[in-house]
């Protein structure tokens, strides 16, 4: 193994079709029009010295190290900024060029500290490399002269340091921040010798606009911007490609290692989802994997008021199996079940649902997607025939109009947001439909053309109004609809949508969005050459979540925005493997590949392969499991990698349900909130400790690779396998690739997927089968995936939510997430990302705050009909009056204590986005918080007692 650096071609690739042929140092080379001479040379292994160019950003031509000579041409042009042309004859090396380059280097080095031996970049410094390449032997300028060697370091960012004394002012960082990330946080101040890089207006990084994505660190050729982990531990010695375990973008990374220690996570240039970019979470927030809170020994206890007892794996597995069997004997076969996680690999999820369906003998399996994207699965399956987004991420680069509905990509899907922002800066128009002024609405060089600031819970009314304009103003793409859609459903839909109640004017009183804006936005969307919709949890987490998804699908079909690049319906998935965990058959009514358990053909196929009879009845969904638990008919639960006690709505109800079960088994990295109610704890393995695959929001199956030994000895899938065997259902996989092979043999959309192919191609977008052996970036090209190949229109009547504001609860609370923290925060809270967000806060509009005498930083009580909690207030105009907003990353904030049991009609996805609340100024935590804090402290004490006991026994 070696570190095997990724080649830098100096300038970005040209995507032109036309090519030219030229000669470089006597070698013929053919390159697309628009390619730089530098890149063309690199493509045949000729490295032209360079400093200010790197292939992730446009060339700048400032260092002049890359000069070349062109036969018959004048002067010495910079090869990074000079494009190839037919018949050119170029020399990259001769005496004259060498002299110029040496002169350039001499100037740079004269103002650069000569501490190479002790520099953190030693061995990975382009300045050092170039000094070697040009043969620099002496520096004639006076080292005692004016220089920047005394410049002060900026250590404010927790993950990287900025040492301006080493800066060569190549501006690669500035351009990376602009072009790659789109934040524009860095500038070059001053001119000539005085010029220097700094975050906007000479601030420290932490005080600037910087979002710590790491693009500048990646682009910096010197030690100026450097990961602190490299400064602390030295250069890594080998690298393994793997996939980020945080969000649904699914960025590919190189885990750069020293033995079994991760030194840094570097975004993979060949990554097909991220093309070498990353965000603060995947790039830097991996410290949780070795955090002291990791529980690494299996534990059991009889009751949740007992101390935990550390036991051997064998004992823990046997105990769990015998408990589950005992419960089934006492309460019946259907009295147990399990919950899979979007944070786990495809193979782990597949195995969980197999264990439940085949080993437990029922279909009581559900997944956390229940609480986020289950309406996407339902709505897109009904209309298009497949439960997934239609495009790849790169498709956005051909969109002319982008409509973002109920999503906050810059926080939730940062790397994709950077790509989207790039397209918006280039050409595309932007429509945002969101109650909140998300960052995308106004960000450097981007301004939304329309921000439809609708009231929470009125998505359907808005979507219908958009459709009304399209139908009544004759903006329907009749050719597309005729050729591709079910015409009966279309004419029904057209009649329904054209009713006056759906007009923007009628909808205005519901949505609060001016009719004129709706009309203009609808025209913009419908008349664009390519228009694409991106949506998130602001669509799904509503009582009409599925209806909105269907409405979005209707819009795209009616305007013919499907089946090619630049268009489509694109759900932005929250967690890394939401798509995958759903694909793997995590829903109680569906086998892998979204096939209903009542379908005899499918079931017999699984029965034959799994050698057992399977139940043809749908199992319990998560909220129904809770109900059944309170009813004493569901008494045992195996939860892998999920924290339902924190993430699910109506916390007090969930806690009561967990308390009433006889055996709760939790498999996780940490003693999470759910584990505080558990009887068996299986220590989990982090994404760095196991092999498998994740599937991102664009259906891309990417490899997850084990880079270190599991701290608790086993990878998660091995634990599930042991439990299955202990329960008497044999499983004998020796590697996750065998699990994938079994899945592929049973699932038509995965038929062509194998580890060997993933390794060869880097990643695969399903469907992957005989028709699409290398996968499918864009779906529904010729026809839809429904049985008859036609897209189905469905009627989307607006039904107001039952959650209404009243004098008692006059405000609407809506919830969301922020960039630095991830979901329930179990991982990110255990990293330095807390410097950006150390607690959940309540955002409230100045009017509402003033009415209640609330100031910034005050403690405020938030009360709904479900419960009450207390947070600090942030008075902010991002919210409209009447709406308050918070995140749910910290368990003690209890944001879900207030959310209610309202849910999507089709899938029971909770209505997180709408809760009627009252907010008042208070001076202490809520009763719930006090009780929960006490409970939580007790549980940590019971954990500590178990550990002490163990130490005493072994001592």
């Amino acid at each position: 193994m070696s570190i095997n650096k990724q080649q830098d071609f100096g300038t970005p690739a040209s995507d032109a079709q036309q090519t030219v042929t030229l000669e470089i140092d006597g070698f013929k080379v053919t390159a697309p029009v628009g390619t730089s001479i530098m890149r063309a040379a690199a493509s045949i292994g000729i490295d032209i010295p360079k400093l200010c160019a790197t292939d992730s950003i446009e060339p700048f031509g400032s260092c002049r190290l890359c000069v070349v000579q062109i036969e018959g041409g004048r002067g010495m042009p910079a090869s990074c900024t000079t494009p190839v042309a037919e018949g050119l004859k170029i020399s990259t090396q001769n005496q004259k060029l060498a002299d110029v380059r040496r002169g350039v280097m001499e100037l740079y080095i004269s103002d650069h500290p000569l501490d190479c031996l002790t520099c953190s970049a030693n061995g990975d410094c382009e300045l050092q490399d170039m000094a070697g390449a040009v043969g620099l032997r002496e520096v004639r300028y006076n080292p005692a002269g004016e220089n920047h060697l005394g410049a002060v370091k900026d250590e404010s960012n927790p993950y990287f340091s900025f040492d301006p004394s080493k800066c060569i002012v190549c501006s690669r960082c500035v351009r990376a921040c602009e072009e790659t990330q789109g934040t524009f946080a860095l500038t070059i101040d001053g001119r000539g010798f005085d010029s220097k890089v700094s975050p906007s207006e000479n601030q420290a990084f932490m005080d600037s606009e910087c979002v710590s994505c790491g693009a500048c660190v990646q682009a910096c050729p010197t030690a100026t911007l450097m990961e602190k982990s490299v400064i602390d531990h030295g250069q890594p010695e080998h690298a393994i490609v793997t996939t980020c375990a945080y969000c649904g973008v699914g960025c590919s990374f190189r885990a750069e290692m020293k033995g079994e220690q991760v030194i840094r996570m570097v975004p993979n240039k060949d990554g097909q989802a991220n093309h070498g970019h990353s965000c603060v979470k995947g790039r830097f927030a991996f410290g949780y994997t070795t955090h002291k809170d990791r529980v690494t020994k299996p534990m059991i206890r009889a009751s949740i008021s007992d101390p935990w007892k550390e036991v051997s794996w064998e004992e823990a597995i046997n105990h769990a199996a015998s408990e589950l069997k005992r419960i089934q004997q006492k309460y019946g076969k259907d009295s147990i079940g399990g919950i899979t996680s979007s944070r786990c690999t495809n193979e782990e999820v597949y195995l969980m649902q197999k264990l439940i369906r085949a080993g437990f003998g029922n279909n009581n399996v559900d997944t956390c997607a229940r609480v986020c994207h289950s309406p996407t699965g339902y709505g897109l399956k009904q209309t298009f025939g497949e439960s997934s987004g239609t495009q790849d991420f790169d498709s956005v680069m051909e969109a002319d109009v982008i409509m973002v509905i109920g999503a906050n990509p810059t926080d939730g899907h940062p790397v994709f947001a950077s790509l989207m922002k790039k397209r918006l800066r280039q050409a595309a128009k932007l429509i945002v439909a969101d109650p909140r002024q998300i960052d995308l609405v106004r960000t450097p060089h981007i301004q939304a053309d329309y921000h439809l600031k609708l009231r929470p819970s009125t998505n359907v009314a808005l979507i219908n109004a958009l459709a009304y304009v399209i139908v009544t103003e004759n903006l329907v793409d009749e050719d597309f609809v005729n050729a591709r859609c079910d015409m009966e459903s279309f004419s029904k839909w057209r009649t329904f949508i054209a009713q006056e109640q759906n007009s923007p004017e009628a909808a205005e009183s519901i949505t609060g969005v001016p009719a004129a804006d709706v009309r203009a936005a609808a025209r913009l969307y419908a008349t664009a050459k390519n228009a694409a919709i991106y949506y998130g949890l602001g669509v799904t987490e509503h009582s009409q979540g599925s209806t909105t998804v269907i409405g979005i699908a209707n819009l795209a079909m009616a305007t013919g925005n499907l089946g090619r690049k630049g268009v489509g319906v694109n759900p932005l998935r929250g967690q890394n493997n939401v798509q995958g965990s759903c694909d793997m058959g995590s829903f109680p009514h569906e086998y892998p590949g979204y096939r209903h358990v009542a379908n005899d053909d499918t079931r017999h196929l699984f029965e034959a392969t799994w050698h057992t009879d399977l139940s043809p009845e749908p199992g319990l969904r998560i909220p129904n499991m809770f109900e059944a638990a309170l009813d004493k008919t569901f008494m045992g639960l195996y939860v892998q990698g999920e924290d339902i006690a924190q993430s699910d709505p109506d916390t007090q109800h969930v806690h009561a349900a967990l308390r009433s079960m006889e055996c709760v088994i939790v498999q996780d990295l940490f003693l999470n909130e759910t584990a505080k109610f558990a009887h068996v704890f299986f220590p989990g393995s982090s994404f760095l400790e196991k092999n498998g695959t994740f599937t991102n929001a664009e259906r891309r199956i990417s490899p997850v690779r084990k880079v270190m030994t599991p701290l608790a000895k086993y990878q998660d899938w091995e634990v599930t396998q042991m439990l299955a065997n202990a329960m008497g259902y044999p499983m004998n996989y020796s590697h996750p690739s065998e699990i994938m092979a079994e899945l592929a043999s049973l699932t038509p959309t995965f038929a062509g997927v194998s580890y060997e192919k993933i390794d060869r191609l880097g990643s695969i977008q399903w469907p992957c089968n005989d028709e699409a052996p290398e996968g499918t970036p864009i779906m529904h090209k010729g026809e839809f995936m429904r049985d008859d190949g036609k897209g189905l229109f469905m009627l989307t009547g607006y039904v107001p939510t039952a959650e209404k504001v009243t004098p008692k609860f006059p405000l609407i609370l809506t919830t969301g997430r922020i960039l630095s923290q991830y979901n329930v925060g179990a991982q990110t809270r255990r990293t330095q990302n807390n410097v950006w967000h150390a607690e959940d806060i309540l955002e409230i509009h100045p009017h509402d705050a003033e009415d209640r005498g609330i100031n910034n930083q005050d403690w405020v009580g938030i009360k709904s009909r479900a419960g009450e909690t207390v947070l600090r207030a942030l008075v902010s105009e991002r919210m409209q009056p009447g709406i308050v907003y918070t995140t749910f990353h910290f368990p003690e904030s209890g944001a879900n204590v207030i959310t209610t049991d309202n849910s999507d009609w089709a899938t029971n996805c909770p209505e997180y986005k709408v809760t009627a609340v009252q907010v008042t100024k208070v001076n202490q935590p809520s009763e719930w918080q006090k009780n929960y804090r006490a409970f939580s402290e007790d549980q940590l004490e019971l954990l500590a007692q178990g550990r002490d006991g163990e130490e005493k026994e072994t001592a």
């Binding site: 259907d334 279909n363 009581n364 329904f496 009582s543 009409q544 599925s546 209806t547 109680p588 009514h589 209903h596 009542a598 009845e617 749908p618 199992g619 319990l620 969904r621 909220p623 129904n624 109900e627 059944a628 309170l630 009813d631 008919t633 009627l795 989307t796 009547g797 039904v799 039952a802 049991d901 849910s903 999507d904 009609w905 089709a906 899938t907 029971n908």
Partner: protein, 73 residues
Amino acid sequence: MSHKIERLIKMANDISNFFNTETDKELAAEGVKKHLLRAWEPRMRHEIIAYYQQDGSGLSPLAKEAVKMLAAD
């Protein structure tokens, strides 16, 4: 009434609210019924049928119709 049956009633009514937009009420009821069959665990279906047979007053007309069809199957 237990929390649980209240919840099932609400779920059934929520489902029928979606299908209610369909003007052909027979088709609408069929849609609700299919959804119940497709997504509800047998325990839940039995309970809503039992509730419909004993009382049923909390169910919307369309939900009632669908549960009736479910009971008849």
